[in-house]
Symmetry: C2
Subunit: 430 residues, 2 copies
Amino acid sequence: MRLSIVKGEGLKEAVARLEGRAGTAQEDARQRVLEILTEVREKGDEALLAYTERFDGAKLENLQVSEKEIAEAYAIVGEKAAAILERSAANIRAFHEQQKQASFMNFGEEVKLGQIVRPLASAGIYVPGGRAAYPSSVLMNAIPASVAGVERIVMVTPPGKDGRVTPMTLVAARVAGVKEIYKVGGAQAVAALAYGTKTLPAVDKIVGPGNLYVALAKREVFGQVGIDMIAGPSEILVVADASANPVYVAADLLSQAEHDPLAAAILLTDDEKLAQRILLEVERQTAAAPRREIIERSLEDYGILGVTDSLEAAVDQANAIAPEHLELAVADPFALLGRVRNAGSIFLGHYAPEPLGDYFAGPNHVLPTNGTARFSSPLGVYDFVKRSSVIHYTKEALQKVGQDIMDFAGLEGLFAHGQAVSVRMKEDER
Amino acid sequence: MRLSIVKGEGLKEAVARLEGRAGTAQEDARQRVLEILTEVREKGDEALLAYTERFDGAKLENLQVSEKEIAEAYAIVGEKAAAILERSAANIRAFHEQQKQASFMNFGEEVKLGQIVRPLASAGIYVPGGRAAYPSSVLMNAIPASVAGVERIVMVTPPGKDGRVTPMTLVAARVAGVKEIYKVGGAQAVAALAYGTKTLPAVDKIVGPGNLYVALAKREVFGQVGIDMIAGPSEILVVADASANPVYVAADLLSQAEHDPLAAAILLTDDEKLAQRILLEVERQTAAAPRREIIERSLEDYGILGVTDSLEAAVDQANAIAPEHLELAVADPFALLGRVRNAGSIFLGHYAPEPLGDYFAGPNHVLPTNGTARFSSPLGVYDFVKRSSVIHYTKEALQKVGQDIMDFAGLEGLFAHGQAVSVRMKEDER
């Protein structure tokens, strides 16, 4: 494995390589997506069934998953697994309850101004099929919508050749409170959620991870419906000091690297000896890892073991990278927290490994990837509400400021804007 | 003018026509935009200066607006106009202060979870040039960023042939607290804000209205930077009862119609007599309106005077349209407010005309258009902050839930995820 310890210029070059992960626009794929969107818009369910047979090899009678299928899924999954999902869901729900925002209103005598916060009426959650079907993602996408108060939460996911959905996915959906589930995936599922069909009415917003076609389709329907961020390659960045345990840090780096060859596992420390011990541990643990091949490709291409002049310099470098996951594996993580500017989720201390956040603690694991933590946030309740402003003036209040408004309209040459006020400055003409 | 009173099926058809405003994808324009983005990414300032000469006819030495130019703008604009902008800005600032969100943290003995809310480090505001240069838009886009605490607020706007920026735009920018202003517009300005050049460092998020090329460019750079919603054709919807003044309502309808031939002015009332009087007033006021031609085209194509069976039915129809601006010109607007589901900004009563919100009251006038109020919100402080989750567990806390996390990782076949926890279940190995 080519993973080695870098500092100074070497570290700069390694960080620069990370940008190569983003990937380039796929014009040909985009053209196919545009065709699929048009086809579904025009032919509805007929197109959904045709694409599902063509892409998923499943010939379906009904797109919607039945109660019977969900009961069967529970039987297959078993009580123990369902109970684990329930315990995780309880933590996720409890944390997201704290993200709820209240409406506000200023009740002045003459002027009343406010902001109403309301849940979206409906939301659609995309869930990948097959081996990429992660029940934790179902919980993390659906529960914030449920906590926000979204009445209609829809899930779409591609069926297997046997026309069935991964049982664990169905159980997770039920645990998360999803009522409607449809066996359709890819760009055709996004099209159905955006435009609606006879059996699958359109939703107001589409969230959830998917492959290139799903991502491109979401980008195209943005505006017709709302979408969440487009997920890119993910990363973990561990800032560690001499107090860190190399065995722990190495395990945490591998837990990200095993996701995907494009995933980036990054260590930044002011202690070169620690970096050396972590390198040995990474090699030892990788050799024993079931997903060894993925881990080795990820570490070779994007793994970084960087040594900085100080712990503060390590955090500053982390801010520039804006990692999806940031671990502060240091003696006093709360002291260092104030220096962190850009990160999706921040794990403090030696006993908060990334998987704690992926599965159980409660904060969302759908996080801004690939540097987008500079401007975006973890998925949350705030993604499933919308706001309306409220303005009420009395006649007296309007007449006090009417001249300013008319003058302002004049500055912009919008005469009818001024007229809407001037007619109200006179006595009522009826 | 073909504007007439409709009900029942006629109303349904008129509402359906509104969707025609959205427009179709412009593939050729998109290709030109992609070329511009690449050119600016590769050649930086050189490309910006070349495009500004080509598209704006201005041969510039420096892209950045100087303090001298801003002083000259103040002299041209005059104290009175500047004072009006200041009074408007004070109201906008006061309202947006109420949108600030606090970070939270649960300080449990063994488990600490929180969410940190931080301003973006930088934001770029696009301001159209020439006749579409609206100082109110500068205030409405820049002040929420300033209230959020964004340190670096950048404005870009195309210069005139004389290489100068509309004076009112410069004064509005200064009033709103914008420090950096650059003379560049179109897709090339969006490219510079997204990728950065020698004189114009990249920003974290781009907001503000623009033409087709600006909108397409923002869509393309989305992901590299954050963007606000893509603005579509705008609309006003007035729900009126017998207490409404036809002169006022007609003036309000015209104030939207004068914006743009694609703008939609819609009346919904349960009182047919009122609708008839409003129709007469619309015709009378249109005849006298300076922007008569735009108003007539807008009303002919998308104007609606609809009569419904009840006031409640009018609000339900409004919810389906999800208008950018909703006026409740009724005797008891607060009673009706609870039925409203989808609207960008809601104006209550007979003395809250849309221009009050456009210029002065304080809530933002950058609103979700063309039905997107179903899932999006007015521009606000929340658009200029990002959140980070915080997770801290003690060793004891992790070991209590470790088995669940390892089991969950097992369910997903992510072995290294489980390993990151299992190594922490044993005694420290160092």
